[in-house]
Symmetry: C2
Amino acid sequence: MTQTSSATVLKGKPVADKLLGELQAAIPGLASRAGRPPGLAAVLVGEDPASQVYVRLKEKKANELGIATFDHRLPAGTPQRDLEALIGKLNADPAVDGILVQLPLPEQIKEEQVLRRVALEKDVDVFHPENFGLLALKQGVLKPCTPAGVIEILKHYEIGISGKRVVMIGRSKIVGLPLALLLLHENATMTICHSRTRDIPAVAREADIVIAAMGKARFVTADMVREGAVVVDVGINRVGEKLVGDCDYEALLPKVSAITPVPGGVGPMTIAMLMVNTVRAFRLHAFPEEIL
Amino acid sequence: MTQTSSATVLKGKPVADKLLGELQAAIPGLASRAGRPPGLAAVLVGEDPASQVYVRLKEKKANELGIATFDHRLPAGTPQRDLEALIGKLNADPAVDGILVQLPLPEQIKEEQVLRRVALEKDVDVFHPENFGLLALKQGVLKPCTPAGVIEILKHYEIGISGKRVVMIGRSKIVGLPLALLLLHENATMTICHSRTRDIPAVAREADIVIAAMGKARFVTADMVREGAVVVDVGINRVGEKLVGDCDYEALLPKVSAITPVPGGVGPMTIAMLMVNTVRAFRLHAFPEEIL
């Protein structure tokens, strides 16, 4: 079958650029009213090369927008109490609006305990369990970055969510579960699949929108989606020299109505949403009397 | 078609009685070691007759088991600060292990703010957003009463959950959503339907287990479930003089393999799980060094 694909390629960059442009336009006025710029503290423990790259990218983007960054690098052997003490100081620092603790943390650190130390209103990654609960209960003011980025992409490309059958493959704490909750709040009829699901292809074929977020290279194949479905690929896997998603993009393209590429799909949204959260936290911090 | 039903009637009372019997056997020894009995404080604001009945039933059951109860009745016009001050006192009271704030609260009270005042470790109803977040993240030590009661019923009657397709109809904060999360943790392939779902019957027919929790009398009819499915009815609706569930029990009985009746199904589990949570909170409070 030769067929010219009419699928919409759901690129993240235009969506991210639009959001970042809005922030860039708003920040000088906000900073001048507040008498200070928004501030983002990044905490990196150890020397993981990928983590170093991520932190650098986040700080660079922040600085481009006029967000001040506070860079804290701790040695890999840092004890729990020192890391928690640093977070305590950042919680109390009036120049800091957002705190990001780059994961993964070294083995000796109890990650859950660290994430619970971050002040709720500075938790721009939305990793604190109370913020997760508020998210689940639809009461949160900050939304987790990658999941919120997926919602932004769907809205930008005018892909309706309400009443749609959405199948999430994956249930991680950082993507699958919080994104399923956000989609449920957008009135999706929400199904969550995972490693213990008996027949993922059959379930995925019921979906109007399939979200792949289980971290297996090219797991979602053309036979697993309905003709005309929308596919969102949140996976990033290294295969040899190449970065590939959780979906077999080339095979899916002729069958679907829209699909996010990897790279260039959901990826650019994560940093953009971190910037959105930082500016939101700044506004709540600097102008608490204003309703956002 | 005349057919003798072979459906298992999933009665809650034997399950509740078993759990309550275990508590009753364990409490004297625990109380003697702790030098005090477990303590449950009940806070009731206003004179809602149904709420008065619920609180009385909970206190009666607690007392039968050897749990001390502390009864706090406040007038309907109680201001927010007085209610929060009382909760603050109960949080600090070493004789109190569990605090239940009977809902609904009067109009002038900000319910969310009150529920966030309850100490995490005394939140036996699991209404605090941080406990909700911990539940969602599978890190909670207390589980919400009615949802946990449903899991207990399924386990008691040896109805497997792992890998099953479970369809939840309803997404309330007290039942639908937390129960969906617990079922997901039990490795169900979980679908959540609600008022904006396009074709609830078609979705429900995919399920091995259907959970009805939307509060509409006899909403789930025989054509909405697959032959041999399991049906759990969490609804309680008053129709004239009668209490009926969200399911058309008589019509479903010949078609399903198992079904909870209303009343007598999930109902008895809620108070039983509140007692389980109170004793669990007591143990964590009195013997913090013991791993539960």
